[in-house]
Amino acid sequence: MNWIFGDNINTDLITPGRYNLEIKPKKLAKIAFCEYLPEFSKKVKKDDFIIAGRNFGCGSSRESAVLALKGLKIKAIFAKSFSRIFYRNCLNHGLLAIEADLGSVDKNDKLVLDLKRKILYNKTKNKKIPLRIPELMIKAHQKGGILSILKKHGFKAIQK
């Protein structure tokens, strides 16, 4: 399923400050959007997509926002643009954050992501959307995040 959001979804909406006391992604998963969209954490399934407008993840630097969505096993977040701290947090944890304008997508459209070819297929609408994903994001995703890469290989591994 696809979860469609508008512009400027801030991290206070993703993990509100006063619930924001967990470290484990599995526990954080339960508070994701708990006030903004209470059904979200109950209905969201593994490999669902988030599709958003501009400036997704703006506001507070809180890492809980990324950990909560990772804990829910979201397959990827597509947004017209991301706020920079949120994007870095995704990189570090290997959660796919892809800048793209997907046009009209409905929540039940069947989407298939081909990272190798950098294409998103909308099977329901029979559309093929080319994606521009930085190599670093793909590498981070494959290796479980920049944290894992740095642990094994240090900074050399991410230098261009």
Binding site: G59, R84, N92
Partner: protein, 417 residues
């Protein structure tokens, strides 16, 4: 090729000449986090399996939810204390991280990373201070360096004199209204012009702080005489090649703006977005009743802010709302005591919290209930930011906040000045 001050500072810290768009691994001068963001530093740090690379340059501040209001939070703080002891790093408990870093630690030209989105505040000293998430702080702690894309810069030239009743907060709101919450995403806001050169470091901090609300990677005021005097007063020497800390004449900007402050009236951001900016005078007509006024935070919790609040409140000598005042640091607090502001604030019924973030993030005292209206001098009016998602947060200058506390509804401060 000509460089911006940002490109110069990145060049100095990555030991090669770099420009906007370059990917760099840069050495860091200061690394910090706070009692909230450190929570998520611990796991990734453990994962990296290293020791803190530069313990004397790494600081954890207890400012967000300190002293702890709940057992879970107290236990988290104990855990952070254990970590700090093990890694031989300092914990500082004397106010908001950005404020204390400006008062005591950072020098112009330094590269600072902080586990807090308002880290750009420190750019008022002419340092490059970038807010990061906790995993990034873990990386910075473990390696003493960090990866960056050198950002484009937006030049904001400010001219004119502030009119009666308007302040740097109003100027920041004008820019927010102009470029929106994403207008500076991935970019640096560089403040220049005659008006900036007349502004104190404290006033500049309001501008660099609010830049975060426009998505800025950071914000900087190139250092000058004002910064030099500030550092002298705060017992820090000022030694650097000034040519290295000024943008070259032909440096490239992705956007250049000029703002004339003499045309700005007192402004206020309505719930729930930073760019929903209107004139206070217009809103005054609606007689919106206010339940709580908060004067403080990394945006407006400095002595100059308390001074203007004092000036307005001392004309009326009574208030009609809850009024919470939080000095940004121990230094500010002591100065406010010395000037007898604190005694006066208490006498008229204000509540003084210990230095720190106070009610700004809705996790400590001053939490808002359903439908409550708050005027805050802080920087975020998101739903639920200060408590109930049904509360309404308006953002304004300390003058507008104080005037509204006196009248009990949103009030133009010019009535009192």
């Amino acid at each position: 090729m000509a460089q911006t001050i940002t490109e110069k500072i990145f060049s100095l810290h990555s030991l090669k000449k770099v420009f906007a768009g370059d990917f760099v691994i840069a050495n860091l001068d200061w690394i910090f986090a706070h009692d909230s963001s450190t929570l998520w530093v611990l796991e990734p740090f453990k994962k990296l399996g290293r020791k803190v690379a530069r313990p004397s340059k790494t600081i954890i501040f207890f400012d967000h939810v300190f002293p702890a209001p709940r057992v879970e939070i107290a236990n988290f703080q104990l855990k952070i204390q254990e970590f700090a002891k093990r890694e031989k790093i300092r914990i500082i408990k004397e106010g908001v991280c950005h404020q204390v870093l400006v008062e005591k630690f950072v020098r112009p030209g330094e590269l600072v990373v902080g586990g807090d989105s308002h880290t750009p505040t420190i750019g008022a000293l002419g340092a490059l201070a970038i807010g990061l998430g906790s995993s990034d702080i873990a990386i910075a702690m473990a390696f003493g360096k960090q990866y960056f894309l050198v950002p484009d810069s937006i030049k904001v030239e400010v001219t004119g004199k502030f009119k009666r009743g308007t302040f740097p907060k109003d100027l920041a709101l004008v820019l927010a209204q102009k470029i929106g919450p994403e207008g500076a995403n991935y970019k640096v806001i560089e403040w220049t012009g005659e008006t900036i050169s007349r502004m104190s470091v404290s006033e500049r901090m309001t501008l660099t702080n609010m830049s975060a609300e426009m998505g800025a990677k950071t914000s900087i005021c190139p250092p000058d005489k004002m910064v030099e005097n500030f550092l002298k007063k705060h017992n820090r020497s000022f030694k650097f090649d000034k040519r290295q800390l000024i943008s070259d004449k032909n440096a490239k900007y992705c956007l250049s703006l000029t703002l004339d402050v003499s045309k700005i009236p007192p402004l206020i951001a309505k719930p729930h977005e930073i760019d929903k900016v209107v004139e206070v005078k217009k809103l005054e007509k609606e007689k919106i009743p206010v339940d709580q006024v908060f004067i403080g935070s990394c945006t407006n919790g400095r002595i100059e802010d308390l001074e203007i609040a004092f000036k307005i409140l001392s004309k009326a000598r009574k208030i009609k709302t809850k009024l919470i005042i939080v000095p940004a640091s121990h230094r500010v607090y002591l100065e406010a005591i010395k000037r007898r502001y604190i005694q006066f604030f208490i006498k008229i019924g204000a509540i003084i919290f210990p230095p720190g973030c106070g009610p700004c993030l809705g996790r400590h005292g001053g939490v808002l209930g359903d439908g409550e209206v708050c005027i805050s001098t802080s920087n975020r009016n998101f739903p639920g930011r200060m408590g109930s998602p049904k509360a309404l947060i308006f953002l304004a200058s300390p003058a507008t906040a104080a005037a509204s506390a006196v009248k009990g509804f949103i009030t133009d401060p010019r009535r009192f000045l």
